[in-house]
Symmetry: C2
């Protein structure tokens, strides 16, 4: 199909498609003339995937590129793909003032009690430590046990997610589901938590029904 | 305290503090000379709050300003504060191609079956619709019931969060906890889900222990 068809089918504008081509997120089409190329269903699929990562997942282009590279790489287990996606998604900045290091020691101690087997350098460890550091800096007198309820919910969700991916018929589908699932369902879970907060807050604080 | 003390106590650099002052996120100090001002514990607290919102929560400055304005407003219920925080946190862009509208109809239908009382214009509805639209565009043959498990987890978490906030001794603390809780625990929950995925993926796909 032409780039105009690709745009119409994907809902991504032609300038944005050209940008993704230049940036290497989308592989080049098949040249049919000096200034024309043809695209196929794989391009369309990739474009929808980029859109899910960037627009729904809020990933930077650099992070999206890392995730896509992980999908394209041959070999490696699904566990490796997941680890790559997690690395690309990690949001924490540098530990300028050593504040994270102290929080990290506490949250690592707590994580060791959860029964989870985790790599010592899992990037999400720092995200959790940053959240804990923010609470303690704000004067919340909490221990990492404040996360217990969240941990239980996360464990139940993740167990069923991994089972779902493992049950898919082919590797390409599993790989894509691993990446999309991590990004898109994270956003869905956040949205659902806010909706649930709205409901419970309305009941608890006696706000009128909408 | 001087701005240098404020910087040391908060871990925020002096140029960044000056930037927050210029941008109105941090109220001005008490002038003691033409180029000097003094700051107090309220400034320190506010600075830590900004840091939690911007660095941990990943909020834009504009979003952080809206959240802080909601905290500062007198009157209004805790429910109003929560609604303001949710508006500031909403990430969805415009619905360029009408793709969200179709997904929104389906997710709204499903939300109506949850028993939650929700405003028709809750911003998280669009975030959920975007997540659902991304899945269907990628060819996942799913209905919004795919979110059932996430909804149950979100409901349990939100119920206890609202009870926690409601039990706080004074309004200022409740308001701050509402905002911080929404932002910081969202990040913590995302981190914990990734850690749980790592654990279950390692077990399911037979990756070696780290």
């Amino acid at each position: 199909m032409r780039i105009s068809d690709l745009s119409r089918e994907s809902g991504v504008s032609i300038p944005t498609i050209k940008f993704y081509l230049r940036e290497g997120l989308l592989p080049p089409g098949r040249s049919v003339a000096r200034t024309q190329a043809r695209y196929d269903d794989l391009h369309l699929r990739r474009l929808r995937l980029i859109r899910a990562l960037v627009e729904v997942g809020g990933l930077s282009l650099a992070a999206a590129r890392r995730v896509l590279a992980s999908i394209d790489r041959r070999g490696g287990t699904l566990h490796d793909v997941l680890a790559d996606a997690h690395s690309a998604l990690a949001v924490h900045g540098p530990d300028d003032d050593g504040r994270r290091a102290a929080a990290r020691a506490e949250t690592d101690r707590w994580l060791a009690t959860t029964g989870w087997t985790l790599a010592p350098d899992s990037p999400a460890r720092d995200d959790l430590a940053d959240a804990f550091a923010a609470l303690t800096q704000l004067g919340w007198e909490v221990t990492p046990e404040v996360f217990d309820r969240y941990r239980r919910a996360a464990d139940e969700i993740a167990a069923s997610e991994i089972e779902y991916v493992a049950g898919m018929p082919d590797r390409a589908a599993s790989v894509e589901a691993t990446v999309v699932g991590t990004v898109v369902f994270e956003r869905a879970l956040a949205a659902l938590r806010r909706l649930a907060q709205e409901h419970h807050s309305r009941r608890r604080f006696g706000a009128p029904d909408p």
